[in-house]
């Protein structure tokens, strides 16, 4: 039991340093740095162009749908690798093929669904 606790000592040191460092740094900066209260100080980009309009605009979600569809099939391929490594030599060839076909077909349902719901067409 003490062995486990001992192995956490480095973590505890990290935690202590992590807790102490930010306040110390902030305190030092506050003591040492000069303060400026000019109007320019409060603009978004102090030495850049002046922003126009509001930041609360709506973005197109098309990319998001593409990303989700991509992840779906990415995972499918990923799952095929472990399947391929145990495929031979365990006497489960038939059941493995059936299982994988079920899996692929269920994902194919998803693809068909995406397609029919026009998630893959780029709406302007």
């Amino acid at each position: 039991m003490t062995g486990i606790i001992d192995s956490y000592i480095p973590v505890a040191i990290f935690l202590a340093v992590g807790l102490i460092m930010p306040p110390v740094t902030m305190f030092l900066v506050k003591q040492l740095s000069p303060r400026s209260r000019a109007a320019n100080k409060y603009t978004t980009y102090e030495s850049g162009s002046i922003p126009t309009g509001t930041a609360r605009i709506q973005f197109n979600v098309e990319y998001y749908l593409y990303a989700i569809a991509f992840v779906l099939f990415d995972i499918e391929v990923l799952f095929l690798y472990p399947w391929a490594t145990v495929y031979k030599g365990h006497g489960i060839t038939t059941i493995a093929v059936v299982e994988m076909l079920v899996f692929v077909f269920i994902l194919l349902f998803g693809y068909l669904y995406l397609w029919k719901k026009e998630a893959l067409t780029w709406v302007k």
């Binding site: 039991m1 486990i4 269920i106 349902f109 068909l112 669904y113 029919k116 719901k117």
Partner: protein, 489 residues
């Protein structure tokens, strides 16, 4: 292939879900009502198969259990009983949702998500391995997050979905964290193996940390105080049919998972979690009932009463005798009927108010909208009365029988003080239930007679039948629950 036979109900549920998703994209919006009937048929078939599976499990008059898929799933009296609960709730919700989804463009998504959620709950009931349990738990949760936010034009529904999602994710993280501690201490994720190696858990504080994290993780799903913050907002904001699924189904998923993990896997730590659950049960039922008294939104009131009911069921953990577990498991089924029905009845009123555009439109489930419901919608009002009286525990309803078994087991186990608190709580709860009945039957109606849509009426009748059947003829249910409880000992 034998193994697949035991999973027939689950396979039917998933196949129906996929078929609905596929059929939905080819059907025109007008013919999408068909999908509701298809879902109902699928759930009925699964229900039939589950009932049949009890025969498979009975051998020379005794219930036996089977482990399938390399011991990752258990098919036994407990799992089948909870599958029965989930399927009954799914059936009531599926029927009611035929009307809810009328002329909706997203019928197929609703039913597919609902069936996938049901499937997840069913697998949780069977899970014999922490990883399987977690995956199924998440499947059910993810599907219900989507359902809670199903009315995407309705800010309240979105709020409900968002809160449920955030809290659900945090609770899943806590639960998984707890599981990693269990795995770290015992070196296995299989529930029977953990039970066999439980000495490793008791010999170090890690076991205690795991218990705390797991109680917090499951407590969110079971909506035990102080992990309940999401429940009132979610149950109120979500569409009524979805609240019904959440309160009646998803909550039981937390309980069955907790039954398996605490009572079977972490049996060695019983004194620790028993103590924690005793406190949680008392706090939950008292808080739920006290806050429910001052609610004016009926769905919110039902949400708080649902907390109180979870407190009663959690008493099973506090008492931990076979009879108490029988009572807790029976209460889970009784609560499924009463709460699913009550939310559907509230949903009928919401439907009436929004389609008539009269009454309190801002909070369509406000108590004022229930005024004179006995004259306006006799069937809905009568069913609602049965449900709330059952929730309060008045004979001859399911609530009375379940409470009777649960409370008498508490007294038999020598925890009279707990039974007294629970009975006082039931008496307190009668106050706000009776107020609802007064609004429905004593106060004058504010509109003409409205006839309930057919699907809502059928869903209410199914729930009423269940509540009364359990109250009038409890023997088969007690027997099933006893068999289920025996699995845990």
């Amino acid at each position: 292939m034998d193994e697949l036979m035991y999973l027939a109900p689950e396979i039917v549920v998933v196949a129906t879900g996929l078929a609905i998703l596929l059929a939905g994209i080819f059907l025109s919006p007008q013919s999408k009502n068909l999908l509701g009937y298809l879902a109902t048929l699928g759930v009925l078939a699964a229900l039939f198969l589950t009932v049949k599976s009890f025969e498979l499990l009975t051998m020379q008059g005794f219930m036996v259990g089977y482990s399938i898929f390399s011991d990752t799933l258990n098919i036994d009296a407990l799992s089948q009983f909870f599958k029965l609960i989930f399927l009954v709730v799914a059936l009531i919700v599926a029927i009611a949702a035929i009307k809810y989804n009328e002329n909706s463009d997203h019928t197929e998504e609703f039913y597919a998500l609902m069936l996938f959620a049901t499937f997840g709950m069913m697998i949780v009931a069977s899970a014999n391995d922490l990883i399987v349990l977690f995956c199924a738990f998440e499947l059910a949760s993810l599907a219900t997050y989507g359902l809670a936010a199903f009315e995407k034009q309705n800010p309240r529904s979105l709020e409900a979905g968002m809160k449920y999602f955030v809290f659900g994710s945090v609770s899943a993280a806590l639960m998984l964290f707890g599981m990693t501690f269990v795995y770290g201490a015992t070196g296995t994720t299989s529930i029977p193996q953990i039970a066999a190696n439980s000495g490793l858990l008791t010999s170090s504080p890690i076991g205690l940390v795991a218990v705390v994290l797991l109680i917090a993780g499951f407590g969110f799903k079971m909506a035990l105080v102080p992990f309940h913050m999401w429940a009132p907002d979610t149950y109120q904001g979500a569409p009524s049919v979805v609240s019904s699924l959440l309160a009646a189904g998803s909550k039981k998923m937390g309980f069955v998972a907790a039954f398996r993990i605490f009572i079977v896997a972490l049996a060695a730590l019983q004194p620790d979690w028993q103590f924690a659950f005793t406190i949680l049960a008392v706090v939950t039922m008292t808080f739920g009932n006290l806050v429910a008294v001052s609610q004016t939104s009926v769905k919110r009131m039902l949400a708080y009463s649902s907390l109180a009911q979870a407190g009663y069921i959690a008493m099973a953990f506090a008492v931990m005798s076979p009879l108490a577990l029988t009572g807790g498991i029976m209460y889970a089924l009784a609560h499924a009927f009463m709460k699913a029905g009550a939310f559907i009845a509230a949903g009928v009123v919401v439907w009436m108010v929004t389609s008539e555009k009269r009454g309190n439109l801002k909070i369509p489930d406000h108590l004022d909208n229930f005024k004179g419901l006995g004259k306006r919608m006799p069937l809905t009002a009568f069913s609602m009365m049965i449900f709330v009286f059952a929730l309060a525990g008045i004979p001859p309803t399911a609530g009375f029988m379940a409470k009777f078994v649960l409370f008498s087991s508490t007294i038999a186990a020598g925890m009279t003080w707990l039974a007294i608190i629970a009975i006082l709580n039931s008496a307190l709860s009668l106050f706000y239930y009776a107020r609802l009945v007064r609004y429905m039957y004593v106060l004058p109606p504010e509109g003409g007679k409205v006839s309930e849509p057919f699907p809502y009426a059928i869903a209410l009748l199914v729930a009423v039948a269940g509540v009364l059947a359990m109250g009038i003829w409890p023997e088969p249910f007690v027997e099933l629950a006893t068999n289920a409880a025996m699995v845990l000992f």
